[in-house]
Amino acid sequence: MLRVRAVFEKTGRAKYISHLDLNRCMLRTFRRSGLPIWYTEGFNPHPYYAFALALSLGFESKCEILDFNITDDNMSMNEIRDRLNAVMPEGMGILSVEEQKLKITAIAKAEYSFSMVTDEPEELMKDVEKLLSGESILIEKKTKKGIKTVDIKPDMEIIGCEKTDRSVDMIMRLPAGTQTNYNPTLFVEALKKSGAHPFEDEKFVRRAILCGDNTVFR
């Protein structure tokens, strides 16, 4: 049995496919591909596949990870990739297919980019800098036990923060994986709450899924 890890993109109109719908969509994609995917055993066998990280509705991604098993040991990774790509929906291409190396638990963070569109990029940039230079960035996070206030600042890594003539564009890394998951919209909310110049956030993209040492998760 081949333990396969596929990296796929989710761009364009595909970003409106919710996580729940993506599950069903992948099931049908596998069926269309005719690949010998491994089924779980037991009373109600179903094809086994798992997404490493859920992606928020409306986010694009260049690095979604999908694990599944192929029962034919002799099948080449290229064949698996090509057969899936032939039947994937628009905007959802398989970028690479490899054998699974790391455990899912090795995922530690994810990198996102997004734009904040405003009529006063200058002003907004100042507001961003002010928020980032503060002591903490407190957000309210819904947990199973209710609403909790957390400081996301210690876990936030700013990779880029650029002003254009219409927006402030940011790239940041945030905790992701089985333990803590922060969404970049948390930062956006905090910025809005801080009284920043009005802006509209858009074009959220997940750029990479990373391990603790900043290497790409594979």
Partner: protein
Amino acid sequence: MELKEKIEKHLLEVQKPSRYIGGEVGSIIKDKSKVDVRFAFCFPDTYDIGMSHLGMKILYSLTNERENYWCERCYAPGEDFEAIMRENDIPLYALESLDPIKEFDFIGFTMQYELSYANVLNMLDLAGLPVFADERGDELMNIVVAGGPCVCNPEPLADFFDIFILGEGEEVNLELMDLYWEMKQKGCTKLEFLRAAAQIEGIYVPRFYSFEYNEDGTIKKMNVTDGAPEVVRKRIIKDLDSVYYPENFVVPFTEIVHDRVSVEVLRGCIRGCRFCQAGFIYRPFREKHTDTICKSTKCLCENTGYDEVSLASLSTSDHSEIDPMLTELIDYTAKERINLSLPSLRVDNFSESLLEKIKKVRKSGLTFAAEGGTQRLRDVINKNVNEEEIMNTCRISFAGGYTSVKLYFMMGLPTETDEDIVGIADLADRIIDLFYSIENRPKGRGVQISISVATFVPKPFTPFQFEPQDTKEMIEHKQKLLMDSVKSRKVKVSYHDPNVSRLEVILAKGDRRLCKAIYTAWKKGCKFDSWDEYFNFDKWMEAFDECGIDTSFYANRRFDYDEILPWDHLDYLVTKEFLIRENKTAHKAVTTPNCRLRCSGCGVNKKVGRECFC
């Protein structure tokens, strides 16, 4: 800003956004510069419902087979998205190109139920088009057409449409588009096109017909102009086996009502239940061969990736090759781990081995459309199911482990008396007794009988088209009587809203004078009337009132046999004489055998030019 950008700007604010942006697997994208005629196929309800509709899937694929024609899909937006569209000047658009449907040559609606009429007006309005056909200009463009079962009496919709397409669309739709393209190239006007279109069999152009009325409100006379035919006959496909069937469906991302492959096995029905419009307007009975059905199933499952398939027909058990067909389908689907969802089947003529196989795949509980509570009433409506059959099927199912039965009934059927209502409760009691009389019944659990009761809606082109619907008072009396008759707590009774049925019958049996009431109701905000949470009976009644329409004239009046009915100029192959004969037979509580046993001369065979069964 481009329309796509405008849409995307707000898409995340609405529920299930993937319904509004297209891009599904199986959707067909063409280069519009190479397309001659564009057809926006609209379903007057939301995506979840419309995407489930088989007829639309067939015609979508069929039209797109033609390289120079492009058929796209369009559905009614949910209330949240509609508000955004109106606020941000987003016109109604088609899902493939995301172009406004106002730019399309044809805007076609499929009319599946009366309660979607107001949605048509809302969609035309959202598209930025006048809802009245005569306000849409004389340029050859935006031809608004409708098909589907409701257009067998399209009169209440006559003012809003340019063309009604009667019967099956596989051939006539393309003929219509061919004619359009030919005349468009010649620079013809809309009127010239409509005149020519009216000469095609199956095409009804309502503006060429007008009505005069008697003092009592009935129709006095119909006038025809512009050389249109006096009678318009519906179209049928003669050879169902060779007719086009799609090899692929558009596969939605979000869940829809019927989220599976659907394979057509036959058209028409041999049964002739007298209340059932489908049983008459889809005649004659035609079936596909087992081979064709199995090939379609396999091909569609492979191309769509669905793991569920259902068979589409009015009565699958009446297929002449039902045994080999199901055997082959069950074997294929089991091997491929596909669920085969089987409709309620008549089990009387099945082989033992097939019964065994069916038992394995069937998951849903047992449902029975008994329709009437006593044998006399079932004979009146020609529902050829007797108590012995109901009991037999229940016995087999109880022994097989089932503990719940769902029974469907209608209330307000012609000739119905209190005895028939009490009969419903009695039947339920006898099923309970039966359950406890079975030795190997499921142990530890009691039996559960659900009774679902709808109010009878008399429909055009049925033997009951002449019948009045029960008034509100009559229905309330019968509902109370049934409640009082049900003694056992193992029996649960539920009712459909009788007001819904009342609106249905008005719209189904109405004439052209209703157009302005539909318009008024829509203006008052009526839409999505088939949804409980939107249905507003009072607003509809206000609209009828304001337009001076007496609804009981349509709902509670017996139409005379020799009265000119609003749909008399439309020919659905079944003759009016036959419907009258059947109506009389019904009142004598005499049944008519099914078409396979004996032809009862409905007229279809003569018009089609061949016998239905040889």
